[in-house]
């Protein structure tokens, strides 16, 4: 997968020792701890046994400082884009250190202040970074107790900690604060051996709901995003863009723009931009540029893309297999062969890609809306021919990412234009540019052949996924004869596959795979005359998944019945980022218009230890609401390399009026390691709605999004 390759390539570039020396030089006095993601035993990629992290820099991934004022500062390259880690990471550190969460400061995504980090994605912040953060907190607490033992003349065994102080158990007034211990000190520790972290029964802050720490800034308009940064002398850029991804510039006349007062036209190689103090004036100036392009005739569009993809598919790779497929098919009384489709889907964060760059001599400072500040630093260094350490990328709040803000095109554009213009430059994409240069969730096809025997048991399962990626492809049911094949491992096809960029989109691959798998399960359940929940339970071996499904059925009030029965209820299961999820939904279908109204969605999740239940619940609700988009409406319109969706009028995302009743439930599993929470509950949304539609009207929808036209076509098929 691309993200692993990307990490491996980057690893060699990092001079860790230098970073650390520089940090210690500038950070003042205090107690410092350097730590990394070391214990990888829990971090295997679901189902594959492969470690999630390979080849990355192995020294440390975060710094922590306890200052003379007693404040604890955590420096991490992770970024906050709405997922709430500015709160949950601080909770973990505060709990292990025995300080109040309000005395923890998070410094995030600043490449000069924070150690290298690969990027914020894959629901890894809590499950991969969290354990090391907790260990670091526990280690720091141990160091503080050793120091206090000396100061208070009491053995460590007789000491305890509370609210930022160490005290003698038997004589509570014999105490010293962390602030006092850090006074005038410069103690540098590297976390070596894991120390014991707190047991769930000892938690004071973790596993308890906590309101977002960034809420006040965000509701008062004080929170700064990249576009809110305004260095003196900054000009705003609007960049000349082609009408299609495959269009070639033939000629350009910039005279009209140059004639406008205060407008500068800047060229840096293929980059042609107009700059002005005001972005709206720059936009008007851009309109005065006359450019001619050669645009090839469109080879594919949003209807023909699936045939094209099947033709372009590379050889398959077997992801999982077992038993004897031919034997299984031979033993089948019914065989089911289906093809599932899903369209390209945009990330569409409300904050478009933005960056502000300031270049002075051979140094650059950039404020960027990015999920990978260190990747951005490297790309800018390469583009400008600067040394990596001479580029600083600062990440303010990011206005949504969903996997789409890791490519940093706008960062490089801002840096190139700032150098060419000799003044700080802001590149803030318009909504049209955001739709044009997005790295879309790939259009994809899944083909499944499966069978059931006369007793209603699944006899074989032959699954092939084209271009969605492997995540979530491997099925988790007890099926004796099975094979899962991935044609194209990641979410980026070879050149010529997709007419524009594709990439990771919230739970990449898994939305597509879960839609196909869980739809097929329902098709078989219907043929077997079985209730969809009972049919699944019958084929599940994993007790954890059974518990998740049974809990969902109980909370939803699921009544066993063969589908379709006109009620409009559906079920779907999924596993993502180590988390198990069961979703149930209730829908109404208007047979005449094909319109689907989702009335109710319930999701039950087992994600191990839940660090911040409030945050986890919010993420689940967000997944359900966002998931309605790709389920019902979101599919990119395009002709060849020209994207015809340029704004939210033709590309519809979920709105208030779509809101179903949303119910979420977290299984109490706090002794298990924490798993990802930002993505799992979205993967089931396509299938749970499709299965509910079938139950409502007996029409099987095999394509996402399930627009009124698609639903009407399915109704016609019967």
């Amino acid at each position: 997968m691309r993200e692993f390759e990307y990490w491996e390539n980057d690893a060699a570039e990092i001079d860790v020792a230098m970073d650390r020396r520089r940090f210690l030089k500038t950070a003042g006095t205090g107690i410092f701890l350097f730590f990394n993601i070391r214990d990888l035993s829990v971090l295997t990629q679901e189902g594959t046994g492969r470690p999630v992290i390979q080849g990355g820099p192995s020294d440390f991934n975060a710094y922590m400082r306890i200052g003379e004022d007693g404040r604890v500062t955590c420096y991490t390259g992770k970024i906050e884009m709405g997922q709430g880690i500015v709160t949950s990471l601080a909770q973990m550190l505060a709990d292990e250190l025995d300080v109040g969460v309000e005395s923890v400061d998070m410094v995030m995504g600043d490449t000069d202040l924070c150690p290298f980090d690969r990027g914020t994605w894959g629901s890894l912040s809590t499950r991969a970074f969290g354990p090391s953060l907790r260990t670091a907190g526990a280690e720091a607490r141990r160091v503080l107790m050793e120091m206090a033992a000396e100061r208070l003349h009491v053995p460590v065994a007789e000491l305890a900690t509370e609210a930022g102080a160490v005290f003698e158990r038997a004589k509570k007034e014999n105490r010293v604060t962390y602030a006092a211990l850090a006074q005038g000190k410069k103690i540098d520790r590297q976390l070596k051996d894991p120390v014991a972290v707190k047991k769930p029964s000892e938690f004071r802050i973790m596993a308890k709901p906590l309101t977002r720490r960034d809420a006040h800034e965000k509701v008062t308009g004080k929170a700064q995003y990249a576009g809110d940064i305004h260095p003196p002398g900054m000009l705003c850029a609007r960049i000349l863009r082609p009408p299609a991804h495959d269009a070639k510039l033939v000629s350009v006349d910039v005279a009209g723009a140059e004639a406008m007062k205060g407008v500068r036209v800047v060229r840096d190689g293929d980059l042609i931009a107009v700059l002005h103090e005001y972005p709206d004036v720059a936009q008007a100036a851009l309109g005065k540029i006359h450019a001619k392009y050669d645009t090839p005739a469109p080879a594919v569009d949003d209807r023909t893309i699936y045939d094209h993809l099947l033709k372009a598919a590379p050889a398959g790779r077997t992801v999982a297999s077992g038993g004897d497929l031919a034997g299984g098919e031979h033993a089948s009384s019914s065989v089911f062969e289906q093809k599932y489709l899903n369209a390209y889907v945009a990330h569409a964060p409300i904050e478009p890609h933005t960056a502000v760059a300031k270049v002075e001599g051979k140094k650059a400072t950039i404020w960027a809306s990015t999920q990978s500040p260190f990747g951005a630093r490297e790309e800018v260094a390469q583009a400008l021919g600067f040394r990596t350490q001479d580029v600083r990328v600062i990440t303010p709040f990011v206005g949504g990412g969903f996997g789409g803000k890791g490519r940093n095109q706008q960062v490089v554009e801002a840096a190139r234009l700032a150098r060419a213009a000799g003044v700080p430059v802001q590149v803030a994409w318009t909504r049209g540019e955001e739709f044009f240069y997005d790295s879309f969730r790939p259009a994809a096809v899944v083909k499944i052949r499966s069978g059931i025997g006369s007793g209603g048991a699944i006899t074989f399962w032959d699954y092939g996924v084209y271009f969605a990626g492997e995540r979530g492809a491997e099925q988790f049911y007890r099926i004796p004869n099975h094979r899962t094949t991935a044609y194209n491992a990641g979410w980026e096809g070879a050149a010529g596959t997709h007419p524009f960029a594709t990439g990771a989109w919230r739970a990449p691959g898994n939305n597509t795979n879960t839609f196909a798998r869980e739809s097929q399960m329902d098709i078989m359940a219907a043929k077997a005359g079985a209730d969809p929940v009972e049919f699944r339970l019958r084929h599940l071996g994993d007790e954890k998944m059974k518990r998740v499904l049974r809990t969902a059925a109980e909370k939803f009030g699921w009544k066993a019945s063969k589908a379709p029965n006109g009620r409009g209820v559906g079920v779907a299961l999924g596993i993502d980022a180590g988390t198990y999820v069961a979703s149930m939904a209730e829908v109404a279908v208007d047979r005449s218009t094909g319109n689907v109204k989702v009335h109710r969605v319930l999701a039950v999740q087992d994600m191990g230890l839940v660090v911040n239940p409030a945050g986890a619940t919010i993420q689940m609700e967000g997944c359900i609401t966002m998931g309605l988009g790709y389920a019902l409406r979101e599919g990119l319109h395009f002709r060849g390399g020209a994207i015809t969706d340029v704004n939210f009028d033709s590309y519809e995302i979920p709105r208030f009026s779509w809101l179903p009743k949303i119910e979420t439930h977290l299984i109490d599993d706090e002794d298990a390691p924490p798993q990802g929470g930002g993505e799992p509950a979205i993967v089931t949304m396509g299938a749970v709605v499709a299965n509910a539609i079938y139950d409502a009207v007996g029409a099987r929808v095999l394509e996402l999004p399930m627009t009124p036209d698609v639903v009407k076509a399915a109704l016609k098929q019967g």
């Binding site: 005001y278 409300i350 206005g399 949504g400 969903f402 909504r431 967000g622 609401t625 208030f656």
Partner: protein
């Protein structure tokens, strides 16, 4: 054409000399350095740029600055007196009615205008009144609860 436009901004007299056809959004964000009002789509489709003009929610990206001459404009920065928060802001905080926070100022301004005209809306009226403000993180259900709470409506329904 450049002209001087006088208006009331967050309760204080203000004036700006600029081309009167420029969108209020960019005048606020550049000339007046009030960056709480956000760009999201530039065509009045998402509501991230919502401000209140004489009590009505307005899409500042679609409002030529000359049209606010003599009027009263409130932005997210001016919703509450120094250091305090407006009841709608408080409700958004208490209900975790935000994630990335980028659409939040526009959501709050739209909700304040909605409650200004209809202090006790039904849930359906809240949904109808907020429907053209887009959120990508999926905080919708919590935003509805926050608006209900700010209006003194007992929780329930959603």
């Amino acid at each position: 054409m450049e002209s001087t436009i006088r208006f009331t901004l967050n309760g204080e007299p203000a004036s700006v000399t600029t081309d009167g056809d420029r969108p209020l959004l960019w005048v606020l964000r550049t000339n007046l350095a009030l960056t709480g009002t956000k760009y999201g789509c530039g065509e009045g489709l998402c509501g991230a740029c919502t401000v209140i003009v004489d009590g009505e929610a307005a899409r500042s990206c679609q409002t030529p600055v000359k049209e606010i001459s003599g009027k009263s404009v409130t932005t997210i920065e001016g919703l509450a007196a120094d250091g305090g928060v407006h009841p709608v802001q408080k409700a958004f905080m208490e209900h975790d009615a935000l994630q990335c926070g980028y659409c939040t100022p526009g959501m709050i301004m739209n909700a304040v205008a909605l409650l200004g005209k209809n202090p006790h809306p039904t849930t359906a009226e809240i949904i109808g009144g907020m429907d053209d403000n887009l959120c990508r993180c999926g905080a919708h259900n919590r935003i509805v609860k926050a608006v209900q709470a700010a209006a003194g409506v007992r929780e329930g329904g959603l």
